[in-house]
């Protein structure tokens, strides 16, 4: 357990010293966090759904539009070349950020993580799955790593299996060897968007590979919060979105091992993804263009570059340390103030989880809870968080979820606690 914790802490668990960042300075970088709601300062606790954007990201996109706006990969004029260079520079930068060994070819830009996972299902899955095959998923998965496999299953007739959960919403790996037997692809989340559960990716990849299965990692909640090295994790595919890591909406990333991407059939067809088109057919372009049909979201790709730079300047180990600390403070504060009245789903140990707290307040539906919290300018998310199978396992229809990021401080947690207390008194029977 100690080793696993050190692993999840990144370097924070080792001897090296992490330079913490000043959260108030970070907060000041985000224009939206300066505004008030209902006469109160905003307490934004919904970054697991979408993070706020620092001024540098907004500026990077504006500067693109104001100075080098032109379509990419075609024009020979100066600004078109500049736009192309900016896009490709972002690809390399994003690839480096996640430890891609071949960023120029392995980083595929998509519109979001959902599209990235659909790409794996529709391209790799369609070519490689059929009757007698199996796909293994975990009960923690987001719908984006479930529904694409159901869609393909209806057509291809393979089996879908599920890794069950323990009572504290960790993966129950008792039967993992049996479950992996005959599996061709293991769809695994690195961190649950509902319970914050961090999964033992490295160990599971080793087991999956030993069983002959590839691993498709849903890294949406991981890449924004923990130092990520896809090569070290040894996964085969990883998907994440830009808007959860301080970047804009409309941009996602699929990273895949080069030899896998090379062998896969094309996904969306159109301009940009071809080497040649004749009246008889087409020849696909080389990677990464092969998977990027149509004009890409250029401004968003450039914004993503700025977001990655911003996070790197803070240091991802410092980001992780900050989030473990704020999560620990929140769990301690909420437990002290509400005791058994408030349930926090998922692992009890802050170092074993991400900064996501799915809460259930006794006698108050999450929707009503979030409504009262809104009166306090505390932004949390009620609902099933696009993980209905997980909600069923947790035995609830919905939860109210508070999630933390680089700009959240203890004031935000205290405001959350005060608002919860108000809700408890408002709905007291």
């Amino acid at each position: 357990m100690a080793d696993a914790r050190a692993d999840l802490m990144g370097d924070a668990g080792a001897m090296s010293v992490i330079e913490p960042f000043d959260v108030q300075k970070v907060k000041a970088d985000f224009p939206l966090l300066q505004r008030e709601l209902k006469g109160r300062p905003i307490h934004f606790l919904d970054s697991a759904a979408s993070s706020q954007k620092p001024q540098v990201v907004i500026d990077a996109m504006t500067t693109y539009y104001e100075t080098i706006n032109a379509n990419v990969h075609r024009g020979v004029y100066e600004i078109a070349e500049a736009a192309t260079n900016a896009l490709e520079a972002s690809r390399v930068r994003v690839g480096q950020f996640i430890g891609a060994r071949n960023p120029e070819t392995e980083v595929i830009f998509t519109k979001n993580a959902t599209e990235a996972l659909n790409l794996v299902a529709q391209s790799w899955g369609r070519a490689n799955l059929g009757p007698g095959d199996a796909v293994l998923l975990t009960q923690l998965e987001h719908h984006a790593n479930i529904v694409p496999w159901f869609q393909l299953q209806a057509e291809k007739g393979f089996e879908i299996r599920w890794v069950p959960l323990t009572d504290d919403a960790q993966l129950d790996l008792t039967d993992i060897d049996t479950l992996l037997d005959g599996v061709k692809l293991f769809g695994l989340t690195a961190m649950s968007n509902v319970t914050g559960t961090l999964t033992p990716v490295h160990d599971l990849v080793a087991k999956a590979h030993a069983a002959g299965a590839l691993v498709c990692l849903d890294a949406c909640q991981y890449v924004p919060h923990l130092a990520t090295d896809v090569a070290e994790l040894d996964v085969d595919f990883a998907a994440f979105s830009g808007h959860k890591l301080l970047g804009p909406t409309g941009i996602g990333v699929l990273w895949g091992r080069e030899e896998l991407l090379e062998a896969m059939p094309t996904f969306l067809g159109g301009g940009g993804m071809i080497l040649n088109v004749t009246l008889d057919g087409f020849v696909p372009a080389a990677l990464p263009a092969k998977f990027e049909a149509g004009t890409p979201p250029i401004a968003e790709i450039i914004g993503l570059h700025a977001a990655v730079d911003y996070l790197d300047a803070l240091g991802m180990d410092a980001v992780r340390e900050h989030e473990v600390s704020i999560t620990a403070y929140a769990m301690r504060t909420l437990t002290e103030r509400f005791g058994d009245q408030l349930t926090i789903h998922g692992p009890a140990e802050p170092a074993m989880r991400g900064g996501v707290l799915s809460m259930a307040m006794e006698g108050i539906h999450p929707h009503d809870l979030a409504q009262v919290l809104d009166e306090h300018a505390v932004c949390v998310r009620p609902g099933h968080h696009c993980a209905k199978p997980l909600m069923k396992v947790l035995g609830v229809g919905a939860t109210a979820r508070a999630s933390f990021y680089v700009y959240n401080d203890t004031d935000d947690v205290d405001a959350l606690a005060d608002a919860l207390a108000d809700a408890a008194s408002f709905f007291s029977f």
Binding site: H365, H367, D368, Q371, V372, E375, G383, G397, A398, F426
Partner: protein
């Protein structure tokens, strides 16, 4: 600015705490219809027993949801018992009209203006849900039970 008291009127909280007609009916002969709010995960089950004349003999509500969806379901169950399908359709129409969120139904201060409800339709307790219109995200909560009931009536009145 609309406040919480506009949304959570006392009568709504009363129906939430003490839901009327909560439970199940044997189906068949009753019909059992599930309704889902895909946004929030709320699920509602309406058990409906119509007699041969198309009058609601009995109704029961199951499922889980927020105070708005549960109280709306509770009030609805009380309001439709003993009513004919035609009367329920008129009531549903009136309720939906009250819940409609056209710009024109809000005045300059964001206050809902009176929508026209026929004289012979009495919303009664359901009037308390009028404030939901000021919280547009919650309208779906209030209408979930009604949409599920409409589906149930369709099921019950369609010859097998």
């Amino acid at each position: 600015m609309p406040g919480l008291e506009d949304l959570y009127r006392e009568i709504i909280l009363d129906h939430y705490r003490n839901p009327r007609n909560r439970g199940e009916l044997e189906a068949p002969p009753a019909t059992r219809t599930e309704g889902f709010n895909p946004l929030c995960g709320d699920e509602i089950v309406v058990y409906l027993d119509l007699d041969d004349a198309g009058v609601v003999e009995d109704i029961r509500i199951g499922g889980t949801g927020c105070s708005i969806s549960q109280s709306s379901a509770s009030m609805m169950s009380a309001a439709v018992k003993g009513k004919t399908v035609a009367e329920i359709e008129a009531l549903t129409h009136a309720f939906k009209a009250m819940m409609s969120i056209h710009e024109s139904s809000l005045d300059a201060d964001g206050e809902p203006v009176d929508v026209e409800i026929p004289d012979d339709v009495k919303l009664g307790d359901l009037e308390a849900l009028r404030g939901v219109v000021k919280f547009p995200v919650r309208i779906k909560c209030a209408t979930l039970a009604w949409n599920t009931l409409a589906e149930g009536i369709g099921q019950a009145t369609t010859p097998a």
